[in-house]
Every structure is written in structure tokens, then in C-alpha cells.
């Protein structure tokens, strides 16, 4: 399988007041297309930072990150925004749905950035909500859904544009065991059935078991 994600000698550090805090030290990582990669590690090990860099929502201090043939480290902010809208589906720990929008409208959000007609957007939204099993809840607001359902809407939002990769940051971190199982099964299905490349950050060993490959980060280094 060709690599869809190539991380080459990536370093990242943050400034806290006048102190530079190194987070990632010369990370090199290759993720083949269709992979379900789990990233584990203790708090502060840099796993979310690596995920953010792969998703193009943060920029490295050094090295290169190539996703689907594009060196995203070299893109400008506006180019990155456009790139993210077509290539990345992001699943957050706390779902991050917009509370004023219904499930349907939340899933439709990333499609507003495309040139799809209203009718085509509807098809995409309905298909995405059907995949996550929430066709009957499309008119519900986030506050009317359970945590597990909210996360499924968030997954529907992430897959609505049919992105190249899915990145998930602790997708089961805020869920009970049963809901977590459902979400992990759904991610597995997206990987197997829909051939989605998934990079998932998790603390949970049970979640990591669902991944094909698990890499551990510790003190900014990949083990």
C-alpha cells in the first residue's frame, strides 16, 4: 500500500511566556492508505500535537508533512483551510457540534464550502447520517441527543465531504463504555467498508485494540 501520510523529521515546540517547550522531536511516520492507526502515549507526550499537524490545523517548526501528495507544511493559512475542507475529517473528543444547528445542519456545514447544489448536499447529509445510524434524528439539536449520538453526528460531519483521511482525537474519551464501543465499531466500519484512512489518538487500550497499528509517543518521540 502506498503511504498517504508521510511525516518526515517533524519537530514542534510551543512558547509558554518566554520558555520554549519542545513537544515533538524529529518525528518520522508513514501511514499507508486504508490504515487505521492508533496513537497512544501519556498526557503531554505530543500525540494530539502530531494529530493536529497531520490534520493541517497546526504547523511544524521543522520537517515536512505530506498528505495525499501535498506538503501541507508549506501551505499558507488560506490554502490549508481549503485543503482541510476536502482532505480531512476531524472527530473531536467533545464532539464540538454547533448547538444552534440541528444534526442535519451540523453535518451540512462542511458541505457549504463545496459547490454542491442544495439537493446534492441533502443527499450527502442523508447518506452520512444513514451511515452513522441517525437518519431519524436529523432534525434534533445537539442538546436533544445523547453523548454517543452527538459523537455519531460529529462522525457524520467528518465523513460528509468524503475526505481523504479521518483524524480522531480521543473520540471515546467523553463516552460511557457502551457508547464508546458503538463509536469504535463505527470507525472500524468506516475503515473496512469505506476504506477510510484513520489516525486516532487515544488513551484507552480497548480503543487502541481496534486499530491495525498502534504507535506510542513518549516525550515527543515515536516508539
Amino acid at each position: 500500500m502506498p503511504s498517504i501520510i508521510e511525516v518526515q523529521s517533524v519537530s514542534k515546540s510551543y512558547w509558554r511566556d518566554s520558555f520554549e517547550v519542545p513537544v515533538l522531536n524529529s518525528i518520522t511516520l508513514s501511514v499507508p492508505e486504508g490504515e487505521f492507526l492508533g496513537l497512544m502515549g501519556p498526557s503531554g507526550s505530543g500525540k494530539t500535537t502530531l494529530l493536529n499537524l497531520i490534520a493541517g490545523i497546526d504547523k511544524p517548526n521543522g520537517g515536512s508533512i505530506t498528505v495525499a501528495g501535498t506538503n501541507i507544511a508549506a501551505l499558507s493559512e488560506s490554502q490549508l483551510a481549503k485543503w482541510r475542507s476536502t482532505h480531512v475529517g476531524f472527530i473531536f473528543q467533545f464532539y464540538n457540534l454547533l448547538p444552534v444547528l440541528t444534526a442535519y445542519e451540523n453535518v451540512e456545514l462542511p458541505l457549504l464550502l463545496t459547490s454542491l447544489s442544495k439537493a446534492n448536499r441533502r443527499k450527502h447529509v442523508e447518506a452520512a447520517l444513514s451511515v452513522v445510524g441517525l437518519s431519524d434524528r436529523m432534525d434534533h439539536y445537539p442538546k436533544q441527543l445523547s453523548g454517543g449520538q452527538e459523537q455519531r453526528v460529529a462522525i457524520a460531519r467528518a465523513i460528509a465531504t468524503d475526505p481523504t483521511i479521518l483524524v480522531a482525537d480521543e473520540p471515546t474519551g467523553d463516552l460511557d463504555k457502551h457508547s464508546a464501543e458503538e463509536i469504535l465499531t463505527l470507525l472500524e466500519r468506516l475503515n473496512k467498508e469505506f476504506k477510510k484512512t484513520i489516525v486516532m489518538v487515544t488513551h484507552d487500550p480497548r480503543a487502541a485494540e481496534r486499530a491495525h497499528v498502534v504507535r506510542h509517543l513518549d516525550k515527543g518521540e515515536l516508539k
Binding site: 490545523i57 464540538n96 444552534v100 456545514l109 464550502l113 460531519r157
Partner: protein
């Protein structure tokens, strides 16, 4: 769903806060509109002045009269079309609180000089024919219930004695900018009484109103008139009607400037109220903006979301404020005696100014929240705990 819908839903997310902001701004817009209307009313006389009218008065002071004999000499100056004149009568109708402008005028020429006072030919004929007839403005007639044929008794003060006037005509102001509260009667009636009772005051005119053919000649004709009466017992000062009216309100210019200043301070208050709301709203949504950026929404989209929300609030508030300004100004003009502000209406420019101010404030109030939202990185935004 369109982005506009998201902007609208965001605006209405905190209904109480948005409503209070809208009402706060609306009240400020009403205050702005009201103050501007007061300022407009103050300058109504100046605004209604005709460019082709000059006023000649005694150079010492407006309260000193001019000889009636000047009339024909002024009329002979080339470029002068009509020479009319008037005396301030004063007087008391019932009591001193019932004040309105009462003037003795040259009956034959007054409507030539002031075509903005419209009287039917029949009524004007009736006015001309009767020695103690008077013309009252439509607003004044409405205020006191004057009808054609009514007798209006007055106690003279500047011109002592008991006076009685018969209403023979009611003039309609040409438009809302024209004072509809004036009272005119025959100068000959006044002059005859003076000749009989106070001969030393007969043949006196308060001021001349001179209608000229070409407003461009105003300066030259004014100069010729004043030149004509230099070294006479009553030297003259001739100026445009606008300058003449301006001289009456010059003493109050400080108060009016203060009104003007306060009206613009109100715009500042509107901006602070809306700015505060927008800063709070945008701060609460820091994480949501980060999520939108993660989904691929650009900085321009975020600018649109914040500015759109600010504009929605300012437009709703501005619209409500302007809508309510009409009944407020209307109620004020009903409560306050018409003679205080004979011309009291909301000028279109006030509406345009208030509307434009509300829109500009909407844009300005969004400035800081936009700046903050754009500066916040996605990573910091996602970590934000509001």
C-alpha cells in the same frame, strides 16, 4: 442551510441579551433622532429662509423702528421686486402663556413676499376688505380652535389698548418646513390706532421684507439700501433673510452645539453597547470558530459570521429605534405648545444619519471581536474554556 441562517441563529442564541442590546440601541437611536429633530426645529426659520428675500432693519437694533417712507425709496432700486414690511405686535391673548407670533403686516404685499403661506383667493379678498381682519396659520387655528369669522381679543403691550381681530383667512403652510403658527393683521389698522392714540409712533415699520429678482444680487442690493440711508435718522442694516433669522438664534448657539454634541455622544454609546455584546458573543464562541476553521472555513467566513451578527443586531435596533422615533417626536409635539417649536418634524436627513450611524456602528463594533477571532489559532481555540 445557508451561512446567513447560522448568523441569524447565532444572533438569537441569547435572546434576552440580544433583546436588551436591541432595546438599548433603539432607545439611543430614538434619543439621537429626537435631539437632531430639536436642533432642526431650532434652525427651522433659517432653513425656511428664501434666498431671494432680504430683510432691512434699524442698524442699531431690531427693536428700533424704521420710517414707512423708506418703502418707496427701496422699491425704486433695480432688482427689487416687492417691498413688504411688518411690525412685531406682541400682545396677550387670554394669558401670557398662550404665546404665538403676532405681526402687523402690509396686507397687500405680504403674500407676494411669502408665497409659502397659502391662502385661498376668496379668504384673502375677505382679509383685504376688512380693516381689523387677520390671517392665522392652520396649525394655530387647530391649536386654539380658530374659525373663519371668530373674533380674537387681545391686550396690547408694545401697542397698548384693547384690540380685536376677526379671522378672515387661514393660511396653509406650503410644506412641513414652514411655520403654521403665525398671526398677521393689517399694519394700517395698527397705524391708524397709533396715529389717533400715540401720534409719535405712527408711520413706523418694524422691518422691511424685500423680494429680489435674482439672489445673486443680494449683496449688491443690500449695500445699495444701506448706502441710501447712511446718515439718516434711522440707518439700516440689510441682510439675507437667513442671516436675519440666524441672528435670533445666535445667543442659543452654545445650547444647540451642546445638543449636537450629545447626539453624537449617543452614537458612541450605541457603539459601546453593541461592542460589548459582540465581544461577549465572540468570546463565548471562540471554540466554535476554531471548529469552523478546522472544517475549512476561512478567516473571511469568520469575519462574515461576526460582522453579520453585529450588523443584524444594529439593523434591527436601528430600524426599531427609527420606527419609534416618529411616535415619540409626534407625542412631544402634541405635549409641547406649538409656539415653542412651530416647525417640529423629523427631517429625512435625520433618518439617513441615524440609519447610517447604526450600520457603521454595526461594522465598528465587530472590529475587536473579529481581530481576536482571527488572531486565535485553531489549536488555542479548541483548548479555549469559556
Amino acid at each position: 442551510m445557508k451561512v446567513l441562517k447560522l448568523i441569524w441563529k447565532n444572533s438569537m442564541r441569547h435572546k434576552l441579551r440580544t433583546s436588551l442590546t436591541i432595546f438599548g440601541i433603539a432607545i439611543a437611536v430614538i434619543a439621537f433622532g429626537f435631539l437632531r429633530t430639536v436642533v432642526t426645529a431650532w434652525y427651522a426659520g433659517v432653513e425656511a429662509s428664501a434666498a431671494n428675500r432680504l430683510v432691512t432693519r434699524n442698524s442699531v437694533s431690531f427693536i428700533f423702528p424704521l420710517p414707512y417712507a423708506y418703502r418707496d425709496r427701496i422699491a425704486r432700486i433695480p432688482g427689487v421686486e416687492t417691498v413688504s414690511f411688518a411690525n412685531w405686535f406682541g400682545g396677550v391673548y387670554i394669558d401670557k402663556n398662550r404665546f404665538f407670533a403676532r405681526m402687523a403686516v402690509d396686507a397687500g404685499t405680504i403674500l407676494d413676499a411669502y408665497p409659502e403661506f397659502r391662502v385661498s383667493p376668496e379668504q384673502f379678498d375677505a382679509f383685504l376688505k376688512e380693516r381689523n381682519a387677520c390671517i392665522v396659520g392652520a396649525d394655530l387655528a387647530r391649536q386654539y380652535g380658530f374659525k373663519i369669522g371668530d373674533i380674537i381679543p387681545m391686550d396690547g403691550d408694545i401697542y397698548p389698548g384693547k384690540w380685536e381681530f376677526v379671522v378672515r383667512a387661514i393660511y396653509q403652510p406650503r410644506d412641513e418646513k414652514i411655520d403654521g403658527t403665525q398671526f398677521f393683521f393689517h399694519w394700517t389698522y395698527l397705524n391708524e390706532r397709533m396715529r389717533a392714540e400715540m401720534p409719535g409712533r405712527a408711520g413706523e415699520v418694524g422691518w422691511y421684507i424685500i423680494k429680489i429678482a435674482d439672489p445673486a444680487d443680494a449683496a449688491s442690493i443690500s449695500g445699495q439700501i444701506d448706502e441710501m440711508f447712511v446718515n439718516s435718522r434711522a440707518e439700516t442694516k440689510t441682510e439675507t433673510e437667513a442671516a436675519f433669522q440666524q441672528s435670533f438664534i445666535q445667543g442659543t448657539s452654545l445650547i444647540i452645539n451642546l445638543f449636537n454634541f450629545i447626539s453624537f455622544v449617543i452614537i458612541g454609546i450605541i457603539m459601546l453597547v453593541l461592542g460589548n455584546t459582540m465581544i461577549m458573543s465572540a468570546r463565548e464562541r471562540t471554540k466554535e470558530y476554531a471548529v469552523l476553521k478546522t472544517l475549512g472555513f476561512s478567516g473571511q467566513h469568520i469575519v462574515g459570521l461576526i460582522a453579520g451578527e453585529s450588523m443584524i443586531i444594529s439593523v434591527l435596533a436601528g430600524g426599531l429605534g427609527l420606527l419609534l422615533t416618529y411616535p415619540v417626536v409626534g407625542a412631544f409635539s402634541l405635549v409641547v405648545p406649538k409656539s415653542w417649536f412651530p416647525v417640529f418634524y423629523i427631517e429625512p436627513s435625520t433618518i439617513v444619519l441615524a440609519g447610517t450611524a447604526a450600520l457603521l456602528v454595526g461594522i465598528a463594533a465587530a472590529f475587536f471581536p473579529i481581530q481576536r477571532a482571527l488572531r486565535t489559532t485553531i489549536v488555542d481555540g479548541l483548548r479555549f474554556v469559556g
